[in-house]
């Protein structure tokens, strides 16, 4: 449904044009990559700019950039540029990519990586072609507007809201939905409920607030750091087989969720957690609540949150991995990626925070009906299967390009 809506919106996306130059090269142009790639046929001339593109056969953004370069070659830039492409599954090209990234002090992994003179661009997003055009025009002495090249743009002007980027809003929405669904995962929820209920018995609202908040925030931090780690691996692996592997795992987890739903749809209530596990957690919480030292109590809470969340992490890795793959496919890196991860985490923690705050203010614990868990199993399972299938057969849809 969501994709249909996006497809509809995308039909109305605007196109824009950009200008080119046909004049001689600026003296500021310096080809600093040539010596690294060390290819004999590279042409050095006074009126042509060399563009180097490191790409992967399996990366959809790279394909987009290659298509863009084909268009660029047909434009009035054709006499002004040489485009050299290097596929990174080749060992030498991969080694050269590393050297080039070192030269440009680029720490982030991934391709496409475009180099023009002393400028480098990692990724290919909405504004990359604009940036390439600006770089080319700066290296060319004049920039008369002669020809336009059509280029996809996801900026859309809406009444009242002004100019919005549909893609960014869509990813925000995906972060919100996946984070919320993931948050309903009962794996770690039972520990929070136990902590809240046991703290309620102390009748010490301040202690309850600090212990609960520390537990929730530490849990969020563990999840955030784990997602950063997974994201690093996802970005590092530009190989299709890894993406397919993630997709297959998503489909398997989706099917597993559906089986759980079918098996337990008529059951209500909670499945008993293993005795040893319960005893261990209850003992730790007792130690925290009975601790006379405030700092030791908080430290105990942090250790408890760290340990249980690390143990329970495997229980809910499906959605974070899919979300990170979506970010990777959409070339969302660096600071922007952190922002989206934080959005995901906030919505992941939302149900915990609501339950916790209600308990602090009313001194009563509210549970989320186990009936909702069944719905989450069903919706989550279907979503995982759809995402997995799209990752394999239509990754460009996950890139929100229809």
């Amino acid at each position: 449904m969501k994709f249909k809506l996006l497809k509809f919106i995308c039909f109305f996306l605007f196109f824009f044009s950009f200008s080119i130059s046909t004049k001689a090269l600026s003296t500021s142009y310096k080809d600093i990559v040539k010596d690294i790639v060390n290819i004999e046929e590279i042409e050095i001339s006074t009126d042509k700019i060399n563009i180097y593109l490191f790409y992967s056969e399996t990366c959809p953004h790279c394909h987009k950039e290659l298509v863009y370069f084909e268009t660029l070659k047909q434009s009035n830039y054709q006499d002004k540029i040489n485009i050299y492409t290097f596929e990174v599954s080749d060992q030498i090209n991969n080694a050269n990519l590393k050297k080039v990234k070192e030269l440009f002090k680029e720490n982030r992994p991934g391709v496409p990586y475009t180099l023009i003179g002393e400028q480098a661009i990692l990724g290919f997003g909405d504004s990359t072609s604009d940036r390439i055009q600006t770089i080319l025009n700066n290296y060319l002495k004049e920039d008369p507007k002669e020809e336009s090249i059509k280029e996809e743009n996801t900026n859309y002007k809406l009444p009242l809201l002004g100019k919005i980027d549909v893609k960014n809003y869509s990813i925000f929405l995906i972060a919100l939905v996946l984070g919320l669904i993931d948050g309903f995962n009962p794996c770690a929820m039972w520990i929070l409920l136990l902590l809240i209920n046991m703290s309620l018995n102390t009748k010490n609202r301040k202690k309850m607030f600090l212990v609960g908040l520390t537990f929730i925030l530490t849990s969020g931090l563990v999840y955030f750091l784990s997602m950063l780690g997974i994201g690093f691996i996802v970005d590092l692996t530009t190989i299709t087989i890894i993406r397919d592997l993630i997709a297959i795992v998503a489909i398997i987890l989706g099917i597993y969720n559906l089986i759980i739903y079918i098996k337990t749809r008529k059951e209500t209530g909670c499945h008993v957690v293993k005795k040893e596990k319960r005893k261990f957690i209850i003992e730790k919480i007792n130690n925290i609540l009975e601790s006379k030292s405030f700092l030791l109590g908080l430290l105990g809470t942090i250790i408890l949150a760290l340990s249980v969340n690390l143990v329970e992490l495997a229980c809910s890795l499906g959605f974070p991995t899919i979300f990170l793959e979506i970010l990777s496919l959409n070339n969302i890196l660096g600071f922007q990626k952190i922002i989206y991860l934080l959005v995901y985490i906030i919505f992941y923690l939302l149900d915990d925070l609501i339950i916790f705050l209600i308990a602090v203010f009313t001194l009563k614990t509210k549970g989320i009906s186990t009936k909702y868990n069944k719905i989450v199993n069903l919706v989550g399972g279907i979503l995982m299967i759809i995402m997995g299938i799209l990752l394999i057969f239509k990754p460009e849809w996950i890139m929100l390009n229809f």
Binding site: C270, I282, I368
Partner: protein, 86 residues
């Protein structure tokens, strides 16, 4: 009649059912209601041999179990199960 409610602190379904039973207790005060915690009253609940689903409500008459309600139920469902007993 004795109504034994077995809940756990970590079980969200128990929390939902617990508040419903509080209402029922007010409406039918002439019965004996006993709350047991799955973790804290381990010895007491052992004899009931409850399975792996919580909450469990056991209704006894003259120390004989006459009804068992397993799982999270809404008020209507609970009252329906107990319509001949309460």
């Amino acid at each position: 009649m004795k109504i034994i409610k077995i809940n756990a602190m970590w079980c969200p379904g128990c929390l939902i059912t617990k508040s419903i039973w509080q209402e029922i207790e007010k409406e039918y005060p002439h019965h004996e209601y006993i709350n047991l915690d799955y973790d804290l009253d381990e010895e007491k609940i052992e004899k009931y041999k409850i399975g792996d689903i919580l909450p469990v409500v056991i209704i006894e008459n003259n120390n004989q179990e006459i009804k068992r309600i397993i799982g999270e139920k809404n008020k209507k469902e609970i009252l329906k199960e107990l319509e001949d007993l309460l």
